[in-house]
């Protein structure tokens, strides 16, 4: 039987703690959807809360700040996993009460 907790933790540990081009603190901030401001904060907030609203301009604005595409890739992945993780943990906690 799959241990979803272990498999999920493997994803989270890798994206937050493993090697990356965005700093660990940037990746954590993207995962948590906090502390990021300006165009980067806008992009990450959209990924976390209403990704269907994200546009080419949102990505261009972040690239204009000098953020590389690999850093964007990593932070978008962290934001997506972080948002989905919060939902998952919320529901699982209620199930296990």
């Amino acid at each position: 039987m799959a241990d979803f907790g272990k498999l999920h933790q493997a994803i989270v540990t890798r994206i937050l703690k493993g090697e990356g081009m965005a700093s660990p603190s940037q990746r954590q901030a993207a995962f948590d959807n906090i502390s990021l401001e300006g165009a980067l904060g806008t992009l990450i907030d959209k990924v976390a809360r209403y990704s269907y609203k994200l546009t080419d301009e949102d990505v261009k604005a972040v690239k204009a700040l000098g953020v590389s595409e690999d850093q964007i890739f990593e932070m978008v992945v962290c934001a997506a996993v972080g948002s989905a993780t919060r939902q998952y943990d919320n529901a699982l906690a209620l199930l296990r009460v």
């Binding site: 979803f4 999920h8 990924v47 890739f73 919320n90 699982l92 209620l94």
Partner: protein
């Protein structure tokens, strides 16, 4: 896709693999599959393992049920690529396209059992509102869904709440229906490894 690196930042070996897949399947690799090949050690490889277990591991939910959950979560997140991809897989698994269409049009009147309906209702709220409460979980249990089935459904939800965000953020190209059918055939026979 929205980042150039996701369109062309692959190793030579991976590009050869993409070309082989295109030659054999007659369709380009969908962006969802390409994404997991980009720097796979960072995200794609661990995510594939989780997704394969969620979607194809042992569960009282059928493959069709879980693909329908994926399509439903995708609808909540307004991800056209994922709605079409997983509707196709679910319909093929069930041999019943009308059932999938009915659920995505109107969950409350669709011809499905109450356990699945209650579970989809909960996943819909979790996806739209980012949280559920104790009453929401109790309602699913009251519909005859086991704790393990809820855990399995939540695993599908985690996989697709992640994937739909990436599909929207990176702007996965929406393929034609024949390409999604080919993709569905592949996903039914091989899964998400």
């Amino acid at each position: 896709m929205r980042l150039k690196i996701l369109n062309s930042g692959y190793s030579f070996g991976t590009k050869v693999l993409f070309a082989v897949i295109r030659a054999v399947s007659r369709y380009p690799l969908p962006d969802a599959a390409k994404l997991v090949f980009y720097r796979p050690d960072f995200y794609g490889s661990p995510m594939k393992e989780f997704t394969h277990q969620a979607m194809r591991g042992p569960s009282e939910w059928s493959v069709g049920d879980r693909e329908l959950m994926a399509a439903f979560v995708s609808k909540m997140n307004e991800c056209t690529f994922c709605i079409k991809a997983h509707s196709a897989v679910s319909a093929k698994a069930y041999h019943d396209k009308a059932k999938v269409t009915a659920v995505l049009s109107d969950l409350e009147t669709a011809p499905i059992g109450e356990p699945l309906r209650a579970t989809l209702r909960m996943l819909g709220k979790l996806t739209k509102e980012q949280a559920v409460n104790a009453d929401d979980i109790r309602a699913v249990l009251a519909a005859g869904v086991s704790n393990k089935q809820i855990e399995d459904a939540l695993a599908v939800s985690l996989a697709f709440n992640t994937t739909t965000r990436l599909a929207n953020a990176f702007n996965f190209a929406v393929l034609d229906s024949k390409a999604f059918e080919a993709g569905a055939k592949y996903l039914l026979s091989r899964g998400y490894h």
